[in-house]
Amino acid sequence: MVSPVQSRGSSNYAYSVARVRAMKSKLLPKETYARLVNMKIDEIIRFIEESEYKQDVDELARTYDGIDLIEHALNKNLASTFTKIINFTNGELNYILTEYLKDYDIWNIKAILRGKYYGAPVDEIKESLVAAGQLSYGKLSALAEKDSEDDVIEALQNTQYYIILKEYEKGQLWKIENLLDHMYYSSLFQTLGSTKISDRRHFMKFIRTEIDIKNITLLMRLKKYGTIDAEKSADLMIAGGLELGLAEIEKLLPLSFEELLQSLEKYSYWNAIADIADPNIDSLTDLETQLTKYSLRTAGSFSHEYPLSIAPIMDYILNKKNEIRNLRIIVRGKASNLSEELIKNQLVI
């Protein structure tokens, strides 16, 4: 067996980076979002049907229509794009990205379990599936068709998630979800963490920034709207952040929202939110948007700093995810008749 610290062979940087950069140039430009927000729902759907998503929309057009069609097409496109990246990368690059995209397996398992728990229709569960990880869409949709959470868990017996899933008790879904998230990050640290291989170090920097941003967002939400006790909140925090380790987070947990904002001043993330951070702020959307923008900006500058490494690929993955998220917000927002202003505030451009 190859030890976790050993490299998985040489990577095809020239090919992968050039291809990913060409793919990035095909992402929607910033101006498009402003235009899309001003369009009517039918126009938006037509726009998406004629864009890069054409093939996915065409393939699904027989089964779905309207917003459901767009939702499925966006998910399908995300999954096929990431699968494509996995297929054209080699060696170490491929290994790291495969580990990273296991995130989607966890997302899908969580979505299916949640759907089953609340008795959602199978179609609705399938709408939120993104088969970008190791589990194929066929397998996932078969899981979504199962009758209960227990049947789903039973069918996942041969996966690495079963150790956690078998502990599931009715009504305690949040515990399982939290454990799965922790498992994902701890296995990333275990397989890719302590090493001198430069790509893994670059990659871990992305992951650790992601953890920081997740923790900060969660802390802000808990403090602003929080009703759960400190012990339960501590369980939700993810270890391994770049600037905020668990020890720092423990110090932040008992603080009020105002004190939390003050304490954040000493971290680099503060620059991103300094202008709008106000203890009396109504909604956290702006703060969260700014933090996401910050992570995208960091990824961008990192990809220029290390042009022939995993950095440009991670930059693309983050930007692609963001594009899909933005399009979904616009489509869903328009379908629910939200105001243009409200939709614009949610977008990360």
């Binding site: 095809n12 020239a14 090919y15 992968s16 980076v17 050039a18 291809r19 950069r21 060409a22 793919m23 140039s25 095909k26 054209f88």
Partner: protein, 77 residues
């Protein structure tokens, strides 16, 4: 003596070896350069067909090293 004749090398032979090395090594070096640029060009072309022209030009840029090698080889001759 027979032994002395065998150890003396013909200068034109050495020249030919030098010229061969100049072209050969320059060829290997530009090949190495073109390998990465070529794969990158193909990658970019897969996503955007209009990159064909630019890709082709970029791919042949290291070819100039071989031309330098060839010039040196001709000078040696």
């Amino acid at each position: 003596m027979v032994g002395e004749e065998l150890t003396t090398m013909d200068p034109s032979g050495l020249k030919a070896i030098g010229a061969g090395l100049a072209v050969g090594l320059a060829g290997i070096a530009s090949g190495l350069g073109e390998k990465d640029i070529g794969t990158a060009a193909v990658a970019a072309m897969t996503e955007k067909e209009e990159m064909f022209g630019k890709g082709l030009i970029m791919t042949v840029i290291p070819e100039s090293i071989v031309i330098f090698g060839l010039v040196v080889a001709l000078l040696i001759k």
